[in-house]
Point group: C2
Chain length 396, copies 2
DNA sequence: CGTACTTTCTCCACTCAGTGGACAAAGAAG
DNA sequence: CTTCTTTGTCCACTGAGTGGAGAAAGTACG
């Protein structure tokens, strides 16, 4: 199939594409109800979209008491690629234009192996998805990386945990390889967009999305749009001081949130506890190198191990204190907790909630849900697909 | 004079009004260069504005090598009233449509006397300004109050330091009394708008404006627009925990920033120090009730008193720690420090800068100016005038 | 099956915002 | 006085968008 290259020619067309993406197939009449245009004008714009091939007419809908309507839908052959590069693994998914996931692959990989090795892996996974018949090619790709990004150019800048990527032209390189438009963003922002598109944040204009994985970051959504800050580092809350004179952090300071709670910190603390004989449950899970992972801690906690539960609770308290400050400052309508440690579940959530509800003012917390993300590892790739679709569905 | 009631009829007219407000008188040709409209269309819109009386043609400008242009300017008889209600004083100013202050009055007053008493004072001050010939009436008024506001309705909600104002219909009441449109906002947001319009933040899209007065608040500007949060309490940073298990705060928690540093806290700490005989300089300034104010501390510091300087430095460190967290989170392009304690000057600023530059990541602080506001007490009233002018200069 | 009613979609004349070129007005430079 | 520049006005034209008429394609009911 020849890949689509058209873009909407004006704001009306862009709006229609978005409606079709988020609301699925629709008749002209239904679209007219949502778009505040006369039927005549609407018909003209729909016809133009049909000409570009971005949308197709596909059969008649059931009658609603009168003439049956023609179903208008986004071209079902369109394919987006969503890529989520985490600190320790890579996710790649294919979606259709409605951002429904058609296939999803995951592969463990250390991002510090550098852009060349990771790109090779991503392209191999994309090829595998293509080979399985899910796509003949891609009309666009979104990609998230675990660090700050100069958004317009799609280039990571000074990323602490992936130094080899500094200045690497991710957008251009991937666009070359795939032969389609590419947008790049911070992985946390993509998670926020994913939860906004298909998860718990569908109806909220202003919210925070805290991702606790190897590190800690926070996606900020203002008026439905991701806020990236002046240099693209907004939401970098891992190095906010959580404990005065606390543990030393890789950044050079002491007491950073990330040094006290994150996937890495939790694994480290649990390993120490196990080696000191504080918990037989944890000790039983030590691997051949005498180390534990955050997943082990979650398992031990689920089995009722007091030490594991304490570690989670303490981490949740630290995190909750920081979030409480952010809630006072930002007054969001929702706080989403996601990332690898979501497996720690209710214990973590309860600790965070306790701190936030106790420390922030009632006006800010009175009607503030604090919930776990509902998409899990699909949030990132869905957000990536959403990112490129927002780009392609805006006027050229 | 008959007050203006017209509003711009479309977005073009709104844009033209804004250009004339921020850029002063202009010829049609110069406006055309800034507005991306054909000369014909521009002439039509200018003519319509002339008809409404919002703008006037006033004389010929000097030639620039050809035919002389007609000066177009905002009607010089338009008058806005800017009101800034602080915790301990009221500021009222008159501006023209270009938001230039024509007259400014200040009156000490405790906001806890309640809306009725404060309104009486505000109206008396407005009448005085009118009587002095600065205005025959007002075309609009902006008013700031020291607490969260339900912005669309212009009603304070659950304001901690002015409980008597909860639910009082400020917008409607003042509009009735003055007979003109009124907009209400948090005083901190108005300060941010003031510095954005005429102060240090003129060219920055995303910035924070920290106001340290009786309490502490923070104005948040995202993409040139004030961000108010879901319930209007965004920027309420006074109750972020700055010191674990610190001083008890009026809000019921311990260690809130406001309990450790603010005009009130500084006065309290200085009074204690003076009474304990730690500083002769401070003791010499005790009033008849044996108390000090923040102004006394500033004076003592200026005189080189070590105790006063220490208090300021410690407060600046606390504040700087909290701001450092906000900088990591928000990645602003500028941080403005303002409010009553601006008199503490460089000592305070240096302490704040030290903490922020030390604790936040280089990417966020690399090019981040942290400066004092340049408008002083005029920031609030200017921001208030700007608020109502933004409202009136937007399409009806 | 025929008639009345509903919903969907198309067609078309009309309005109005906006463009761009021609030209007049007014001044500067020589 | 001529030439050139800048400013502002006029006017015919384009194209976006509207709203009503009516065709197309159904359902409901006698």
């Amino acid at each position: 199939m020849r890949r689509m290259t058209a873009r909407p020619g004006n704001a009306h067309q862009a709006r229609l594409l978005t409606l079709l993406r988020d609301g699925g197939p629709n008749s002209r009449a239904q679209l007219g109800d949502q778009v505040d245009l006369s039927r005549s004008k609407l018909a003209v714009e729909v016809d133009r979209l049909l000409e570009t091939g971005l949308v197709v007419a596909d059969g008649l809908a059931a009658s609603r008491g009168g003439r049956r309507s023609h179903n208008i839908r986004l071209n079902p052959e369109l394919r987006f690629l969503g890529v989520d590069i985490g600190a320790t693994s890579v996710d790649v998914a294919v979606t259709n234009a409605e951002l429904e996931t058609l296939g999803h692959l995951n592969h463990p990989m250390d991002v510090r192996e550098g852009p060349v090795a990771v790109f090779e892996q991503v392209l191999a996974m994309a090829a595998k998805l293509r080979a399985s018949g899910l796509a003949e090619g891609f009309d666009g790709a979104g990609i998230g990386v675990p660090g700050p990004v100069r958004f317009p150019e799609g280039i990571p800048v000074a990323p602490p945990i992936m130094p080899g990527w500094d200045g690497f032209p991710v957008r251009e390189a991937l666009s070359q390889e795939l032969g389609c438009p590419v947008m790049v963003d911070n992985d946390v922002n993509l998670m926020a967009m994913g939860e906004q598109h298909a998860g718990v944040a569908r109806t909220v204009a202003d919210f925070l999305c805290v991702k606790i994985g190897t590190g800690i970051g926070c996606g900020i959504v203002v008026g439905g749009e991701v806020y990236r800050g002046t240099t693209g580092s907004a939401g970098d809350i891992g190095h906010i001081q959580a404990v005065p004179d606390g543990r030393p952090c890789a950044c050079g300071n002491r007491g950073c949130l990330e040094a006290h709670f994150s996937g890495a910190a939790l694994a480290r603390d649990a390993t120490e506890a196990a080696q000191q004989g504080l918990s037989a449950e944890l000790a039983s899970r030590l691997d051949t190198n005498g180390a534990l992972t955050a997943v082990d801690v979650a398992a031990a906690a689920a089995a009722g191990d007091a030490t594991a539960l304490d570690l989670i609770r303490e981490g949740g308290n630290r995190t909750g204190q920081v979030i409480a400050g952010l809630v006072s400052f930002f007054n969001p309508g929702l706080v989403v907790i996601g990332g690898g440690v979501t497996g720690l579940g209710h214990t973590l959530l309860a600790a965070i909630r306790t701190q936030v509800y106790r420390q922030s003012l009632p006006l800010a917390t009175g009607n503030l849900p604090i919930v776990l993300g509902e998409l899990g590892s699909a949030a990132g790739v869905t957000g990536a697909a959403r990112l490129i679709s927002d780009h392609l569905f805006s006027p050229a």
